[in-house]
């Protein structure tokens, strides 16, 4: 199964130049290399800060675009890693090894299996 690990962190903390934050940033490359070596890695991207982002909506046929996402919390979506794992517990274990888990939070989301019916809510 494939899982997306969504990485959330507070940029004020991650880029504060502290020894702890710098150690996390220095370890990210090795984490990605380990995932590639173990065969869990599918793809990943890091995202720029929200001040470079736009949010788009279409309502009643009209497009509106606003600057950046407006976040209630200080933690923002900072990137994602798509992994292949045996099950949810293995995916959680892999996410727990991500250096950013030490500063922020990793949300593990199973990728939708289109052979299954859509959720009824």
């Amino acid at each position: 199964m494939q899982y997306v690990c969504l990485i959330y962190f507070d940029p004020q903390q991650v880029f504060d130049q502290s020894a702890e934050s710098n150690a996390v940033l220095a370890a990210v490359g090795q984490y990605n290399d380990d995932l590639k070596a173990s065969g869990h890695y599918v793809t990943s991207q890091a995202l720029t800060l929200p001040n470079e982002a736009m949010t788009v909506r279409v309502r009643a046929g009209k497009m509106s675009a606003t600057d950046g996402p407006f976040m209630e919390t200080r933690e923002m979506l900072a990137g994602f890693i798509l992994i292949e794992a045996r099950d949810l517990n293995e995916a959680v274990q892999i996410a727990a090894r991500d250096p950013f888990a030490r500063l922020g939070a990793i949300e593990v989301r199973p990728v939708v299996d289109y052979s299954k019916p859509r959720p009824k809510l």
Partner: protein, 411 residues
Amino acid sequence: MTADAARAAIDAAYRTEARRVLATLIRLLGGFDAAEEALHDAFAAAAAQWPRDGVPANPYAWLVSTGRFRTIDRWRRQARLRGALPELTALADMQPETAAPEDIVDDELRLIFTCCHPSLTPDARIALTLREVGGLTTEEIARAYLAPAPTIAQRIVRAKAKIRDDAIPYAIPDRAALPARLESALQVIYLIFNEGYAATDGPSLMRAGLCDEAIRLGRLIVDLLDDSEALGLLALMLLHHARAATRVDARGDLVLLEDQDRSLWERALIAEAQALSARAWASRTVGPYALQAAIADLHAQAASTTETDWAQIVALYDVLGRVAPAPVTALNRAAAVSMRDGPEAGLAAVDAAMAQGELDDYHLAHAARADMQRRLGHSEAARAAYQRALALARQPAEQRFLRARLAQLPA
């Protein structure tokens, strides 16, 4: 060696060796998470090397030593980044494992006893055993138990944390502790079996898989420990499993024991169970599982409910009620009494069982009571009891059965 042949060899090794390799790696590496990672690494290495170098003579030993080596290698790299881990040198210097068969067997037992440790909640024991010993994925367990996958995942994460934090040893209990610990392991296996067996609805394939897995675990314990209760449990599960196909009809409706087509009961499973049961009874101590297996065996031997030895069944329930008193046992005994002595005696026995108070919310107690009243011609009392059973029943097949019985009562 062709890529296809190597692929097939790796798939075969995964099916036959992965659980045993994991059990050994947990002991060697001292934890579940490290061992699972090592198992994954070992199979990734096999995928890269076996097509080139051929399949090793002993895949188990190759996978264990590769998984262990790769983990130590990774820990060395991490130690360089974070500062040395003192225990690492000792671990790396350990002699590579010799793969003596008795060691492998011991590792599987260690894993079962750790996953079924009494300090874990029953739910956690079941989830952990199914995933770590049974090799099911979190999602498969969630589907079988109709639970959200994150709930099961959380249960497994917490159970592993508890094993680590409480330093629950990865060991076969000593002689003094063995009976109690084995009882916990057998209980987990029986709960897994019952979850699969009781289901007549829902994702039935997955749930039948639970029965198969429980039987596999039961066989494993019997192979590893010659214990009369382990033998009794396996015999009991096989006897139930032998008539699984006749318990529901093509429409998914319940078929009562008296109406089941006994020619379809799987005789090979029954014969196997009878041999196991004989071994259990040959030992001097017989416990609740061996007694229940003996009862199930009497049903399996009979050509019909009228030719069933109900007197012997009631006698066995009497012993079972003394060895392991339980309201459900008293209820089952009452049903047997009604077959031996008629519905009036059965009704008195059901009422006596229900007077203990724990069966009030159990739909089958009210269904049994309704059945006795119906056979006595007490339509009004039968109707009330069927309605109470219907209000408590949760499976659609059972609800359909109870509605049909209600409709058949004379007005």
